[in-house]
């Protein structure tokens, strides 16, 4: 069990990193990586939402959808559940944990509609993970997103100090930098199989 969890974590954070290897969640990746503070805030929200969403959707899938043979409704039901869950969590945090609400702030509802959350939850049921494995998967996918965001935030700071050619200024040079950052993660390919005996 522990080995399985470790294997999932390693795969989600490094070899199958959602942002840099699978190219999901690119919008927040480019949007909030300008400042370190907002990158951390966004990462926190993603880890939080993904873990909760994994738990909630796994429960619904196993106890409601499978008994009724409704697996083909995965996408629509998961979107519904995730949206409602995040709305609820936002209200709950605002009332009972204002500091956490302040820290996650606007990023909490923003990330709800992103494909990265849906991808994590659908992957859980596709791989027929258990409840705990699903939570670990959601959590480590979020951590992988955080890692990508923090690394890219640093890359972007370095890019900002340089002066690229006029036609590359702004988004173009950012995309080039993102591509190069993503290349570095290719070096993890095949590592998980050797480490954990695939």
């Amino acid at each position: 069990m522990l080995m399985k969890a470790l294997s999932i974590m390693f795969v989600m954070i490094f070899t199958q990193n959602y942002v840099l290897v699978q190219f999901l969640g690119i919008c927040p990746f480019l949007g909030v990586s300008k400042k370190f503070d907002s990158a951390i805030g966004m990462s926190g929200a993603v880890v939080f939402v993904m873990t909760l969403a994994s738990a909630a959707t796994w429960t619904i899938y196993t106890y409601v959808m499978v008994p009724n043979n409704l697996e083909y409704l995965t996408t629509i039901i998961f979107i519904l559940v995730i949206a409602a869950l995040v709305q609820f969590v936002e209200i709950f945090l605002k009332r009972y944990m204002p500091p956490l609400y302040q820290a996650l702030g606007v990023y909490l509802p923003l990330i709800t509609t992103n494909c990265i959350v849906l991808a994590a939850t659908i992957l859980n049921v596709d791989n027929s993970y258990t409840f705990l494995e699903s939570c670990v998967n959601g959590f480590s996918a979020g951590v992988g997103f955080a890692l990508a965001l923090v690394i890219f935030c640093g890359v972007r700071k370095a890019v900002e100090n340089a002066r690229p050619p006029k036609c590359f200024e702004g988004l173009p040079i950012t995309l080039v930098a993102a591509a190069l950052t993503s290349l570095t993660f290719m070096s993890f390919t095949g590592m998980a199989e050797k480490l954990f005996g695939g």
Binding site: I60, V64, M65, N68, N69, L70, L73, I76, I77, L80, V81, A84, Q87, F88, I91, F92, K94, R95, Y96, N161, A162, R163
Partner: protein, 264 residues
Amino acid sequence: MNGVMIAVSVLCAIGAVCALILVVASKYMSVPENERFPAIRACLPGANCGACGYAGCDGYANALAEGTETRTNLCVPGASGAAKAVAEVMGVAAEEVVRQVAFVKCNGDCEKAGHKYEYEGIQTCSAANILFSGEWACPNSCMGYGDCERACPSDAIHVVNGVAVVNPAVCTGCGICTRTCPKHIISLRRFAEDRVQVRCSNTQTGGVARKACSTACIACKKCEKTCTHDAIHVVDNLARIDYDKCVGCGECVEQCPNGVLVKL
């Protein structure tokens, strides 16, 4: 029951349960929002420049809505219009906004200021400043790589011939450039056309300053002797004006041998 009925009913049931939870949650867990906040926020221009000292317009509106001690005239881009509207919502007397503009305390352009070495590195002021405080002979000289120009949200400051120049007509006085400049030679001044400004920051002694730049303040004290209002004094080898006493007569401007004093 056939498959379609089950699918529709399950989906509807999940939707209904979610809706019910959200309705209950928003009813019993909602936090009463300060009702003055949206009204105050609507009065502010939404430029998020930070001139008021708060993190964006939302932060300022929040501070106004929360406490009574926050001044209503802090919004510089909104000027007196915003201040009046805010004061109306708050129910207090409106205060006039003091319009401020940025002022660059350096006039040493490419012809007047000397170099101590040739700089070929990263073309930003902050990078050049790290290397022996920049290439210019004067330690307080404008670097001219335009960090302020890039930081300015209203396109009011531009590097002209190696020295930054503010366009007072466009400047909103947000003060971002004053915090960006690695030499700290940009400051906010009250906007008034007839006021005299010292356009130099060099505090070296006369001879050294003169060698570094032909338009530096050489602390000759001519202005101090000319002024009949006791408003200008040379302190630390640099002329400084006491704006409580200065009437803006401009006599010192004519006397200054290096063109350091200017009327804004």
